[in-house]
């Protein structure tokens, strides 16, 4: 396991070097999720969103994947805000305020994007992104 950790540092997150029973340590970590668990969940949601943007053909589903990405960023903001509250930082609520602005921008982006989708559908009669290739040489 040590060799694996040295090759793939990301796995060290799961198999951290701990004293005592590793299984008990992992169970303790699972029973007490902290900031890092929030960050991992946010990272996974982000990656799923990126995969959706890169692989899907339906432009509406691509927009939904963008919402997923923004939502993952919001989760990180809120988790760090909570973390900073417990360290007694004066700017602890900045994360939550920023989340409000991210939600506002996401709503504006969705309205504009869906307006573009409707205009596009009216002119090209398609929602598949690989058939919308006017700018492709």
């Amino acid at each position: 396991m040590n060799m694996l950790n040295s090759f793939i540092p990301a796995l060290a997150f799961l198999f951290q070097e701990v004293e005592g029973d590793r299984w008990a340590q992992m169970r303790h970590a699972a029973a007490n999720p902290d900031l890092s668990k929030f960050l991992v969940i946010g990272a996974l949601l982000f990656i799923i969103g990126v995969a959706g943007v890169l692989t899907r053909r339906n432009i509406i589903v691509i927009f939904m994947s963008i919402e997923l990405i923004l939502n993952a960023a919001n989760l990180n903001f809120v988790a760090f805000s909570r973390y900073l509250q417990e360290t007694g930082s004066v700017n602890a609520l900045a994360g939550q305020i920023f989340t409000v602005f991210v939600i506002v921008v996401a709503a504006a982006e969705a309205a504009i994007g869906l307006g573009i989708v409707i205009a596009l559908y009216r002119n090209k009669e398609t929602i598949w992104v690989d058939e919308i290739d006017l700018l492709k040489w």
Binding site: P9, A10, F13, A30, A31, N32, P33, D34, L35, S36, F38, L39, I41, A43, L44, L45, F46, I48, V50, G52, L54, T55, R56, R57, N58, I60, V61, M64, S65, E67, L68, N71, L75, V78, A79, S81, R82, Y83, E86, T87, A92, L93, A94, Q96, I97, V100, F101, I103, V104, A107, A108, A110, A111, I112, L114, G115, I118, A119, Y121, D130
Partner: protein
Amino acid sequence: MTLSGYEALFFWIFALAAIFAALLTVMARNAVHSALFLISSLVSVAALFVLAGAEFIAGVQILVYVGGVMVLFLFVIMLVNVGAEEQGREPIFNKQRQVTASLIFCFLLVGGVLYAVNTGYRGLQKLHPQPEAPVGLTPDQGAGNAITATGTSRMTNDTERVGGSLYRYASLPFEIASVLLLVAIIGSVMLARTLKQEASADDVDPDTLQEEIARDPELAKLESQSE
């Protein structure tokens, strides 16, 4: 920050729900199913917000995303309905090579992000070595709120503090956000309007209108109605 007890249980339930719903959003064949799975993912993330002590953000998330943005999405799916038989035939993913390349990229990104979280979090722990603090109580806040026996339920004045600092420290961005929303409303109305609607509102350049009437005689009727 450390959750414990039932909070930890609900954390894992909602985290798994959010991730599975996000996966199904990306993989569902029908766009309406995608939208419904995205709604459940957003609600699960709102529950995670509550567990992280951000009740106001959770409420805003459900009101704005689920109540507003997703309804907009469902309307647009209804308007650009491609038909069930075509949805069954068309492939939903890009070509094989593109999908392979992007999945490789995504796995690299997973590795990079997890590595960054891992090393960064260790550095953070060194920076703020924390004793096991009681859940969700900042030192100056603890006196007014009685802790229950389990230490998990509490009263917060979190929303009040968010509102206070929103207006105190972020009032200029707040106003800019309202202008941004106004621009978005006007822009989407302009984008989604048809030529007929523009002609009946007498909102087209006369020369352009003459050209379009030559192509589509019905527009002339609309224009005479508006006058």
